[in-house]
């Protein structure tokens, strides 16, 4: 039971892959398709890695979808005004850091529930994005160098996969090995105890929200580079899936706390299900139903295992 308890989510991923491989040995189980899945999951995974930081605090950032859309629209708007790739990156990421800090200050300083603060922040951001784009899909004006940041391969893997690996390594290192990460876990574990032990709770919390927003902004940039266009609601699908990935990941590896390897496994489960069901020709609406059901099943399984290990 303890193995299932500890690696339950990873085992679930392996079982799901095995089932699809058996069902579709010629389509799903090809190396090319598996590599393709790593690319398909990459943007979701990066949003989820950012959300993991905030979840470690025991908080939510519900503005990540709006942040992705914002990043894309701001980027194209700037490109169309003749701004270069590097300044566009800097401006987009900086704006996300500032907005994320705003949410963080509301939560950490003014004790607004993060659910409400970030929902409001996301709504504001959605309005601004719509205003900036006039509600239209924006395209054109992007240099090739920008587009290449999200297409093609490098060292045998898709470029987007490399972005995911880099983001995952960085935040895994921060959460697992750096003092800042240890403090975030302490805050999430017992805010009062962390405060009384000298942890700068407000500053650390604000930074987590800022970083989460920056990762969402990065995804906005990469999504735009990938598609060659930006839509004012282009990030819409990321919110629920990102948190589903984090929740699935909390059941893996680490005493029920959010963690980067777990989040990656969670994102992989979501991507594998979508990919496998598509290859098997399952209609899109049924894919959603199955994805939701699998997430509930995974979490219930974990709770049952957790109860058993406590007894």
């Amino acid at each position: 039971m303890s193995v299932l308890n500890r690696f339950g989510t990873l085992i679930a991923l392996i079982v799901i892959i095995a089932v699809f491989a058996a069902a579709s040995p010629g389509g799903f189980a090809q190396i090319g398709n598996l590599v393709n899945i790593t690319q398909q999951m990459s943007l979701l995974a990066i949003v989820a890695i950012g959300a993991t930081l905030v979840m470690v605090l025991g908080e939510f950032d519900l503005s990540v979808s709006a942040m992705v859309s914002w990043g894309g629209i701001v980027a194209v708007t700037l490109f169309q005004a003749g701004v270069g790739t590097v300044p566009v990156f800097a401006i987009v990421l900086l704006s996300c850091l500032v907005i994320g800090s705003g949410s963080g200050v509301l939560v950490a300083r003014f004790r607004v529930p993060s659910f409400i603060a970030t929902l409001a922040m996301g709504t504001i951001l959605g309005g601004l994005t719509f205003w900036l784009s006039d509600g239209a899909t924006l395209f054109g004006g992007m240099p090739d160098g920008f587009r290449d940041l999200a297409r093609g391969t490098a060292l045998g893997l898709p470029v987007l996969t490399w972005w995911m690996i880099a983001a995952g390594l960085l935040i895994w290192l921060v959460l697992d090995r750096v003092e800042y990460g240890r403090r975030l876990y302490a805050i999430g574990g017992n805010r009062e105890a962390a405060l009384l032990a000298g942890v700068p709770v407000r500053r650390d919390s604000v930074l987590a929200f800022a970083l989460c927003a920056a990762f969402a902004g990065l995804v906005g940039l990469l999504l735009t580079a990938r598609l060659g266009s930006a839509h004012p609601t282009g990030g819409g699908g990321f919110l629920l899936q990102a948190y589903a990935a984090v929740f699935l990941g909390m059941t893996a590896f680490k005493n029920g706390e959010p963690n980067v390897p777990g989040t990656l496994v969670g994102a992989a489960i979501i991507a594998v299900i979508a990919n496998g069901l598509t290859i098997l020709g399952v209609p899109a609406f049924l894919q959603d139903v199955l994805t939701g059901a699998i997430i509930i099943a995974a979490v219930l399984l974990r709770r049952a295992a957790g109860r058993k290990s406590r007894e």
């Binding site: 090995r177 750096v178 003092e179 105890a193 405060l195 009384l196 000298g198 005493n255």
Partner: protein
């Protein structure tokens, strides 16, 4: 009614929590229709006794009888069914509900056509409230009432249906003079109607004015039960303290050095009255007082998470850091809070994570890289384990797997490998066994002997007398007396405390 009939008879009741003996032979006999006082020093076992009576705890030994029949409530609801009502010291009210709604939480509302009959509900509450507190706003959310008013709501809640025995745990602690007087009237009226009341209070005046008889607990035992008319105030104080005078085996071995901490006329507490105190090098100073006297708040203020210190506090003659606990840590101050579960430790995290948290930046492999080195952390834990004699498995085990005493030793001891100028401790040995208590006392004395100052808040009179070089008695946010630890005995400390309580009833207005 013959005088020897007993409504409630408790004999030789015992209860232990792990290695801690909370009750060790308590006898209590309550007659029908009497007001029976229960007094004792903090930690004497009053709360545990009440929890056994109300079914929260199961006693380990002894007997309880109600009307001669064995009495062993399965839980608070069962106790209530048997006619017991407990008015707890802590308030258990829903902040957004009105008094009326709170009173009916967990009860059956009067119904009309299957729906809650609000007007009948209100009528029932008002009928009871008219006697107790006619001007209590019954429709306003609890969140907007004063503490005293909330206390009255708790009392109303207990009295809304008929009871045989009402237990009141310090019901007047947060009441104003007028509210307390009215409470006393209600208690007398209950008695006249044949309901017995067990009245727990630290206000000795109240015990003498209200109670027919009084039982004194000390160290989990009943030391006396007698009619209040046959006792004096001094008798009672003496019974509570047991004439405790300690050998002082933990007393300072050297004269105190220069001041480490100096608090100079800091506006503090509800009355913003100036508070001054000094802690010298090599000294253990105890803050003793009743619950709510402001001890914890004072320590938290010194630690940078309470009230502003407004340049009224100096450490080693210099100004106190302005940047909260982190700044205090840099100045060599350390703090162990009152409740290790909710304030001190992250229970589901590892021993290593908890032990290293306050000085997390001290374990770097390279000083410029903010990453704790696993080797240095392991060495630190191994050293702590040996130094503090902690019974533990691996450093990666959750700290919740340790006993309370070992958790406490780690929470305090995790500071000790670093240079400490001033150690602030809030109830350092609450709920730990005798062995751990002695080790914690040894740790405090070692630090003091090494040149640190120790300021400890404690509700445990024995501990205070045992280890403190000086005892500061706190009441209502102020220091009301200072006694030399080597000369003080329990009678003096309690007398100073109760004298202050008597002098300042007006200041308690909520």
């Amino acid at each position: 009614m013959p005088a020897d009939t007993k409504l409630l008879a408790v004999e030789a009741l015992s209860k232990r929590f792990g290695g801690v003996i909370a009750l060790d032979g308590v006898d209590l006999a309550i007659r029908p229709g009497e007001v029976h006082g229960l007094v004792g020093e903090n930690g004497a076992g009053k709360s545990t006794l009440i929890k056994c009576l109300s079914g929260v705890h199961r006693p380990d030994g002894g007997t309880m009888r109600l009307d001669g029949a064995p009495f062993g409530p399965e839980g608070p609801r069962d106790a209530e069914r048997l006619g017991l009502r407990v008015i707890h010291q802590e308030l258990n009210l829903v902040p957004g509900f009105s008094a009326i709604e709170n009173i009916f939480v967990g009860r059956r509302y009067p119904k009309r056509l299957g729906l809650v009959d609000r007007s009948a509900t209100a009528r029932r509450v008002r009928a009871v409230a008219a006697d107790l507190s006619p001007d209590l706003p019954l429709d306003r959310p609890i969140a907007r009432l004063t503490t005293g008013q909330c206390q009255l709501v708790e009392i109303l809640r207990a009295l809304i249906s008929a009871a045989r025995l009402v237990i009141m745990d310090e019901p007047s602690a947060s009441l104003s003079r007028g509210e307390a007087d009215r409470l006393h009237d209600v208690v007398r009226r209950l008695r006249d109607a044949g309901t017995a009341v067990l009245f727990v209070s630290h206000r000795l005046d109240e015990i003498f004015a209200l109670c027919d008889r009084v039982t004194v607990l000390r160290n989990g035992r009943t030391v006396a039960t007698d009619a209040t008319s046959a006792m004096t105030r001094d008798d009672l104080v003496h019974l509570m303290s047991g004439g405790m005078a300690m050998p002082g085996r933990h007393r300072a071995t050297r004269p105190p050095g220069p001041p480490v901490l100096r608090v100079d006329r800091l506006p503090f507490g509800r009355r913003r009255a100036p508070l001054s105190l000094t802690v010298h090098e090599g000294e253990v100073v105890a803050l003793y007082g009743l619950i709510g006297a402001g001890r914890s708040r004072l320590l938290r203020t010194l630690w940078g998470v309470g009230e502003p210190t407004a340049d009224r506090v100096t450490i080693d003659g210099g100004p106190l850091s302005k940047s909260g606990p982190a700044g205090r840590i840099r100045q060599g101050i350390a703090f162990a809070p009152e409740d290790r579960r909710t304030q001190g430790l992250v229970m589901r995290h590892s021993i290593a994570a908890n032990a290293t948290l306050p000085r997390l930046d001290s374990f770097r492999g390279r000083s410029w890289l903010p990453m704790p080195s696993a080797d240095r952390v392991n060495t630190f834990i191994a050293d702590l384990k040996q130094r503090l004699d902690v019974r533990m498995g691996r450093a990666s085990d959750a700290i919740s797997t340790l006993s309370g005493g070992n958790q406490q030793k780690l929470m305090v001891g995790r500071w000790t490998p670093f240079p400490i100028r001033l150690l602030l401790l809030d109830e350092p040995t609450r709920g730990v066994d005798v062995g751990a208590k002695a080790e914690l006392h040894g740790m405090m004395r070692d630090l003091a002997d090494g040149g640190a100052g120790v300021l400890m808040a404690s509700s445990d009179l024995e501990e205070v007398l045992d280890i403190a070089d000086r005892i500061l008695v706190m009441a209502d946010g102020g220091i009301v007396a200072e006694l030399a630890g080597a000369e003080a005995d329990g009678d003096q400390v309690l007398a100073a405390l109760f004298a202050a309580e008597r002098q300042e009833p007006e200041s308690r207005t909520a």
